[in-house]
Symmetry: D3
């Protein structure tokens, strides 16, 4: 199952992070879910797209020279349609590497959203835009003089999970899942199938059948 | 005050966790409130019912044999009307021992809800069901190969509080409170009374009376 | 720019914590944003007012004598129009030093709101009042026998930031910012200006101009 | 078994925290061991004496008036022979409420030692004195302007365990145990007995007998 | 290089955890070092042997039936020469699953030592035995009624690293390293070689050669 | 008091971190003590010298190009007599940016020691060298592929305290203190004085004078 524009739409409409996570377990990739403190700013939105990565470092001074946002700007200006900016921040980070202006710029390029284990600011405007952003917290502090993207498109860790540029990212109300590029087509196909069987299970359970019997029949929980 | 079906309804309609907590303090039981990271999935819902307990362990492999959910299924299949599944998980747990299918099964048996200091998944569907679930976080990871219920109906710790099967559990937007079985009738009766006096206090305060005087008059804050 | 009643209204309507934080950075005050776990109970409300401080201590018994809430009551009864009660609590605090009755009393005096890094209870009623409260968490436990205000109107730390009585406090969906009394007039004036230029930037970005060029033109991100 | 001067010496020579802890479990008091980050400054020393308690609060300014150490000085000046100063500090405390000068003063009064979950300084000199001090960490910061004892001889929490003035405190290389006053005579008597049977077990195990059989014979592990 | 009795002795005498860790990096296994809070009880001792695993769960009551230590006893009674008991405990565990009697029993069977991310007690006697034990902390609490080994010889996590029965464990003053069974022969051979080149580097550096040049020459740091 | 070679020796022989910390408080610099988890590898050694700073970032891959240690090597190769390498690492860092070979190289240049809130390895050899190293922990993992110095001689944060190249660093068994360059001469002079008065206080206390009176006389605790 090629992941083209039509599949991307289908995934966003039909899948959810739980079913993708189950399928990745089956495929032997157990370490794919970002830590639970990474939450969506808007629980209604679904994110699906390809990762472009940025690696953050804490800094403790403003450098005299030019542009403290240089690499972050480069990353956002280079985002393509359906790409997701994924920013890995140091633990205990109290800075917001993402906000409304970057969201506006990213959306103008067709980007699918942003995921960071750092903070985000400008919630009101980002929510109004309906732009899917998942963050490790919320806070007003700008990154200038506090943090900077030092490398882009390298492997990073975000929410405790390794993310490589080109991985697929799925996020919804239940959290964020990283789908390795090599597993993506298979995972999406299997997840679309699994969604169907869950409907049967749900119906049987709501009729009052015992979990034990339903699980014996379908092997799904 | 016997806690029968009518009382249960009354408690759900009239009481809130703060007033029950105050009353338990008065009765000498100070350690009854789950840690504040245990939050309701839906802040509108109120939970009141009797605890059935499950004790979780982290595991790091899928066992060859049969059913990784065996005891959890047994617990849910055995839930009676107005019972609450309470699942105690290890600290730092990143797995969701509860989700929509278990909610569906539990509700079909008349259970009142679920409380866990672990994670929960399938928020969208659980919220749609209006089934009261309180959890230590949200995340997509299934428990298979990561965690398992090892014992049921034994004393556990959930959110830092000891819970014994048969204790009463009350949860609302302010948190979750455990009411020891032996104190329950007295606590409910006292709480229903206290609710009334708070109305008087509120009225006086909103008229602009000084806290100092109102507190001197009613001894309530 | 004198901060009189008209300015206070203007600030509440026009500003947001991000822009104030940026301006404080410019003025050389980098340590002004409360830790991100201090969140608004109602994300729609904006708080702006002058700090009145209370310093909390954990206690482990109820003292025989009189009134465990004595200094807290004194603080609230003394709140003036547009003042904000700021309560600094010990780390790991599980107690709610603030709730609905204190909110009612504070509002009756014209207070602007409350900020604490401790817990708060009675969410339903506080939200109904539309009274701006920012807290480090939510929980039902009363402070009696667990914590007490030991000093008022002294310098405290709240959410990791030093707060002195008389500082200005601004809070919204993005977090809480402390504006030192000495910087307040300048900061407010600068923030009101900065808000305007951001509109231009936003418009250019949404038209698809590259971040790099827009940042070069306006120096704002 | 009355805990007189002779018993105190015997306890210090014969017992260790593990055997006392086991005996307290048997007597139904499960919550008696301070958190493991509370460590002896000198692993060779044994502490046994009666608790005198002090409750610390974090402060954020130096008060103009007189003596920031007032209550702490009062506590130390009042220590009697074989008493132990137990200082409960707020979590995350980075201040040293105890050091060499207080150790010198306490020892001059015959005090048995000091236990705190805060920090301690002046290790070199305290170790030279062979004065038993157990602390939550080591650091050079004085408490003036950072913390103060607000109450003495009230119930406190130290290392996560409730301590009341008059409780017996035992500390050695394995940690610190609180023996409630009411249980002390019984606990000491039982522990002195248990120490003997452990010798038999140890001898059998070192001869190569299987744990299973030795445990079946003596019920001790 | 077969890991026979002679190699085991050689490894204990010549290698150290840093050089083994470097070699494992080279072999592509990056996740092999236990978290730094797992420390040796005696910094002079070196541990090298094969893992036998036990998986711990927190419990909150003493079960009426028989033997709370059943599986732990089974594991220790079955230890063979040069095996290492590796016990994985839940995070935040405050219980000591290991102590002097188990050390005595293990040593009597020829076991090489014990590694746990839980606590250990009876330091004085264990140190006197010169038995290598590495633990996540020190504390007096027995496991009975607080924790129990639920499975043995299954894959576990200890100090954040996956350990499978049969892996080789190396521990010294710098920490504990897990060497996967499949990599062990190669890793040991490479490490013995690397130790030699480090001597050359050390000599050149102590003569004052610049790091830059020495690193260029030998590629080792 | 100029801080020349003679003063440096005097400081190392006479002062300790507690007295320097007290003096810095007096001079109005309250934030000068590294967090207490930064400990000396050898509690007998005293460190005093001028800071040269390095700022670490976590990385998650080995870059193809040349030298992963480039800036760290540059920093060490450039150390002058009595300078101290101070390496600030991200929170939760599990990597050792410092070890025996760097110690050897640094010592060969006359450097005074190393301070890091990251880990250190090769304890045995570093201790044998009697080279003063203070670290946030101990562990065997090399930094290659896990972390890298990204900037040198910029302001950093180490153990929670801002350090600027040129600040003076004092470390002993009680911890590490940063003395801002501008305060150093005054602080050293005052500390040398204070040390003397403490001797008087100690003598009075050990004779049994009450703390209250001794403190009233000398104002020192």
């Amino acid at each position: 199952m090629k992941i083209d524009a039509a599949t991307i739409k289908l995934v966003r409409r039909r899948l959810y992070s739980g079913v993708i996570s189950d399928v990745l377990d089956t495929l032997g990739d157990w370490d794919h879910a970002l830590a639970p403190h990474v939450r969506p700013l808007d629980e209604e939105l679904v994110l699906f797209g390809r990762a472009r990565t940025g690696l953050y470092m804490s800094v403790y001074h403003v450098e005299g020279r030019a542009n403290p946002y240089e690499l972050e700007i480069a990353l956002v200006d280079d985002l393509k349609k359906d790409e997701v900016a994924v920013l890995g921040c140091p633990k205990g980070n109290r800075v917001a590497p993402w906000g409304e202006l970057l969201s506006t710029a990213a959306r103008a390029r067709g980007a699918a959203g942003c995921v960071t284990d750092g903070l985000v600011r400008d919630l009101r405007l980002i929510r109004k835009m309906k732009f899917p952003v998942f963050a490790g917290g919320i806070g007003p502090l700008d990154s200038k003089g506090r943090g900077a993207v030092m490398k882009i498109d390298v492997p990073i860790e975000c929410g405790g999970v390794r993310v490589t540029a080109g991985d697929w990212i799925f996020g919804d109300v239940d959290g964020v899942v990283v789908i390795r590029a090599a597993l993506a087509e298979k995972a999406v196909a299997l997840a679309l199938e699994k969604v169907k069987s869950e409907t049967t299970v749900r119906e049987e359970l709501s009729k009052g059948y015992r979990l034990k019997d339903v699980f014996a029949r379908h092997g799904i929980l």
